[in-house]
């Protein structure tokens, strides 16, 4: 009997976790960064679609913790452990952080892509989670999909088609 595979979709400023054989996907990463954290032995994976680098930037009292690199990664790690992952075995793959518009005069906040990438790397380092592969920067949007069985991250762009990292 064939097992059905569900592809769980993650929106902007959102996160979720899956168990094999299910896969997890997020669409249209621009300056946002997609962070995949997984345990390849337990075949569980989580994905966060991060919009902003640090929760100290918020002007809200009750802010969406999935929006910021620091708070989202903390929650993602916690959810993965609840799902059976072992913290010491966690690894990460990241993609996104592009600069979609060649802004010259705009304020610092608009150069958000590279800052998001930096913040994600820092938070992963804090949790001692190694980054196995990454595809960041540039000026193209990316759609990514992770398969916890193969631990391959599929990346699709408009101009360069699909590749795996």
């Amino acid at each position: 009997m064939k097992e059905t595979v569900t592809v769980v979709k993650v929106g902007i400023a959102d996160l979720n976790v899956v168990k094999a054989p299910n896969r997890i996907r997020t669409s249209g990463l621009g300056s946002c960064v997609g962070v995949v954290i997984y345990d390849s032995y337990k075949q569980v994976a989580g994905l966060a679609h991060i919009m902003l680098p640090d929760s100290s930037l918020t002007k809200q009292e009750n802010f969406n913790k999935y929006k910021y690199a620091d708070t989202a990664i903390d929650i993602l790690v916690e959810k993965l452990i609840q799902l059976g992952a072992r913290k010491s075995q966690l690894k990460a793959k990241i993609a996104g952080g592009a600069q979609m518009f060649q802004l010259q005069s705009a304020s610092e906040i608009m150069r958000i892509g590279p800052r998001n990438v930096e913040a994600v790397k820092e938070r992963l380092k804090f949790h001692q989670i190694p980054i196995v592969s990454s595809d960041t920067g540039g000026n193209q949007g990316r759609t990514i999909e992770f398969d916890p069985v193969t631990t391959k991250l599929k990346i699709r762009t408009v101009n360069q088609g699909e590749k795996y990292i």
Binding site: G11, I12, A13, D14, S27, G28, L29, G30, S31, C32, M51, L52, L57, T58, K59, Q60, N64, K67, A98, M100, F101, Q102, L103, Q104, S105, A106, I109, M110, I112, N139, Q140, G141, R142, T143, V158, N159
Partner: protein, 209 residues
């Protein structure tokens, strides 16, 4: 103020700002391409970022987006959004058929891109100047920035500032259409004021917040 809880009066006022701005912008566009252009009555929507992507045809939908920020007494983001076909059509009309596609040999045609940026610049300028006249609020705008890519990737850039203070965007969406029967949409003109600017717009028009 909580942008989730706008009254119907507030929405009417924002729709009127959209009407005046877009009316001026479509008049400019009609002159530019020498064709009658109509606009639909603007819709005012309060949406999450993810809902906004659905309005634009999904996060992965390929769009041509021309982006502006405006600064001054009120601040916010403007997007002029076209499908690739609409952009090709607009460039073709503007160049009298000399340039018929925004892509040339697999790359963006610089001539077509600069035509699109100029059209967007004129639309944006006439929209914002009508809005400034109506509200008596001062504002200046950046130059146009263009990207042809997935909707979510391009649109989030204009929402970075807003997303620090809200999970919702107030969207004043005007569809521009040709005047001939059955003519298709020519583009979306989206005005997204920053949350802090919403009360300023209302008080400038003498409406209590």
């Amino acid at each position: 103020m909580d942008t989730k809880k706008l009254s119907s009066l507030h929405k009417d006022v924002l729709r009127e700002i959209g009407n005046i701005g877009a009316g001026n912008a479509t008049a400019s566009m009609s002159q530019l391409i020498n064709k009658k252009i109509k606009m639909e009555v603007p819709s005012v929507k309060i949406v999450t970022i993810n809902e906004m992507m659905e309005i634009l045809g999904g996060p992965e939908r390929l769009i041509v987006a021309i982006f502006f920020r405006f600064e001054g007494e009120v601040t916010g983001t403007v997007y002029f959004i076209l499908t690739v076909e609409e952009a090709n059509d607009l460039v073709s009309k503007m160049t009298n058929g000399q340039v018929t596609s925004i892509m040339k040999n697999g790359e963006q045609d610089p001539m077509a891109i600069s035509v699109l940026q100029e059209v967007a610049n004129i639309l944006n300028g006439s929209y914002l100047s009508a809005m400034a006249d109506f509200t008596k609020l001062r504002m200046t705008t950046t130059i146009p920035y263009l990207s042809i890519d997935m909707a979510a990737a391009t649109i989030v850039t204009g929402l970075i500032e807003l997303s620090r203070s809200s999970d919702y965007a107030i969207l004043i969406d005007t569809k521009i259409v040709g005047a001939e029967p059955n003519s298709s949409t020519k583009g979306h003109f989206l005005l997204i004021p920053d949350p802090e600017s919403i009360p300023k717009l209302f008080s400038a028009l003498g409406i209590s917040v």
